[in-house]
């Protein structure tokens, strides 16, 4: 029973990681941009959410409805203002740009919020759980997981069957040829990043209600997203979801075996995949 419970908790944790990983996979898949500032954006949005809830005096449950639109706007502006200038065949300029952005964001957040840890309290809701057979499952993690599943399905279907999805895939395959087919590639890139950072708005809410956040926490979030994306296959949407589940399960199962092993066992699974199937589990090649 201990292990079944660990498995379920791991899947639920994976739901949170999936929200980080989906945006990263989308940006990498469409623009070959590895966004080093991904984790810092989660923290920025989380801190903004905590502050806004305090200042406006609204229920914390309102936060995601503020954070997702803010993420969309931040993502769009980031792509239009900075990243569209560095989308090239060569990945180095975008790495340097997002690395610089990550450092700038961390310092900015330290200035504004200092190094204290903060969180969003949902009161009774955060400890509420339901009985599923022999297991008790938290309502909140279950909601996070359900949201991640729905998001993955929507993104997958949108990419496959909509006009926007076709334009996105075309721009990802060959930006110049997409332009020659009437696709505004830079506009498509801006929308992709807007979606990616918009998802981080939801992730930020989940992060802030689940644990505490502080300005320097971005790095760890980046690593989990990165591991999930690599495990699934760079740029692959359902792969990112699968990768997030694997990282989540590895962490929880590891920590049940020995409380010190949680994070480490996630990294070990990542290294194993990197060694045995470097192109990722879901990649076609």
């Amino acid at each position: 029973m201990k292990w079944l419970d660990a498995l379920v908790q791991g899947v639920l944790l994976g739901g949170l990681y999936a929200q980080y990983a989906l945006g990263m996979a989308l940006m990498f898949g469409v623009m070959r941009i590895v966004n080093i500032a991904h984790g810092d954006l989660v923290i920025l949005l989380a801190l903004l959410g905590i502050t806004l809830v305090g200042v406006l005096g609204v229920s914390p449950l309102v936060a995601p409805f503020l954070l997702v639109p803010m993420g969309v706007i931040i993502g769009w502006a980031l792509q239009r203002g900075v990243l569209n200038r560095v989308v090239k065949a060569d990945p180095l300029p975008s790495l340097v740009a997002t690395f610089g952005l990550s450092i700038a964001l961390q310092n900015l957040m330290l200035q504004i919020w200092s190094a204290d840890t903060r969180s969003l309290s949902l009161g009774a809701l955060s400890s509420m759980s339901i009985e599923l057979g022999p297991l008790y499952v938290g309502v909140l993690p279950l909601g996070v997981f359900a949201f991640a599943v729905a998001l993955t399905a929507c993104l997958h279907l949108a990419l496959r069957y909509t006009k926007f999805g076709r334009a996105l895939r075309a721009a990802a395959a060959d930006g110049e040829a997409a332009t020659l087919s009437g696709v505004d590639a830079k506009g498509v890139y801006a929308l992709a990043t807007a979606i990616a950072v918009g998802i981080l708005g939801a992730a930020a809410f989940c992060q802030a209600t689940r644990t505490t956040v502080a300005p320097a926490d971005g790095g760890a979030q980046l690593i989990y997203a990165f591991e999930a994306v690599i495990i699934g296959g760079m740029g692959h949407i359902s792969g990112a979801f699968l990768g997030a589940m694997i990282v989540g399960i590895a962490q929880v199962v590891g920590s049940r075996a020995d409380p010190g092993w949680g994070i480490l066992s996630g990294h070990i699974v990542f290294l194993l995949v990197l060694a045995l199937r470097p192109q990722g589990l879901m990649s076609r090649t």
Partner: protein, 240 residues
């Protein structure tokens, strides 16, 4: 006759290297024009400047009577300027059908219903694409891929179709099959520019012909009136 494309005094450069010098180039509505020249003469550069993929260093380009300098490349496509790029440049990882639909999704709307290119019409033009519509484009043979590239450009409902070396690397039979479709494409009122290495094919399939040499137009005129000797001089330069 009304000109669909007018290029005046066009110069273009890649960094310090000037690839086009004062090029004058004009296409009348409904005309098929061949553009020939040796490797590196600047043919693709001219087409890229026309479609807005590169910005010229001097000169003017007018498409359908309007200067193109302020219109981004993707918007020009929606005004009816389509190109089959050199090397096909299909969207790998996408099916034949999706490759075609990308262009159809955002094509010019002010086209008469009867003249509109649709996916069924592309299937009539190249029946093999119907059979293989659900396959990934990279699984197709070179000739079939070229048909997808032509079909994709046609779905933009072009007034002017620019074809950059569609015969490159294809078997003669396939080249013939694709070139046989040009009259049908033209019948809908579309003007066509073909860049072609095979000079006699270029000559026989066009109304007029331009020859580029090291970035300059060295010859232009009606294809049927130009002799092979004049072409050879314009193609290789006066010294050979």
């Amino acid at each position: 006759m009304r000109a669909i494309l007018k290029v005046r005094n066009l110069c273009a450069a890649y960094g310090d290297f000037q690839a086009l010098f004062n090029v004058e180039f004009e296409i009348a509505a409904g005309e098929v024009v061949a553009l020939i020249g040796a490797n590196g003469a600047g043919k693709s550069t001219l087409l890229k400047a026309v479609t807005g993929l590169i910005s010229p260093s001097a000169g003017e380009i007018a498409f359908a009577g309007e200067s193109t300098s302020r219109t981004p490349a993707h918007a020009l496509v929606r005004k009816g300027l389509a190109m089959v790029p050199e090397g096909r440049r299909l969207f790998r990882g996408m099916t034949v059908e999706d490759n075609l639909r990308v262009c159809l999704d955002r094509s010019r709307t002010d086209v008469e219903q009867a003249l509109r290119w649709t996916i069924p019409r592309i299937h009539e033009l190249f029946p093999v694409l119907k059979e293989r519509r659900r396959e990934l484009v990279e699984r197709l043979s070179g000739g079939q891929q070229q048909m997808v590239a032509v079909g994709r450009a046609l779905l933009a409902q072009p007034r002017l179709l620019l074809c950059d070396e569609i015969s490159l690397g294809l078997a003669p039979k396939v080249v013939k099959e694709i070139y046989q479709k040009l009259p049908e494409i033209r019948a809908g009122g579309t003007s066509i520019v073909i860049v072609e290495q095979d000079v006699s094919l270029a000559k026989s399939s066009s109304d007029r012909l331009y020859c580029l040499l090291e970035g300059r137009v060295t010859l232009s005129g009606p294809s049927c009136e130009i002799g092979l000797e004049a072409i050879s001089r314009a193609y290789f330069g006066a010294h050979s």
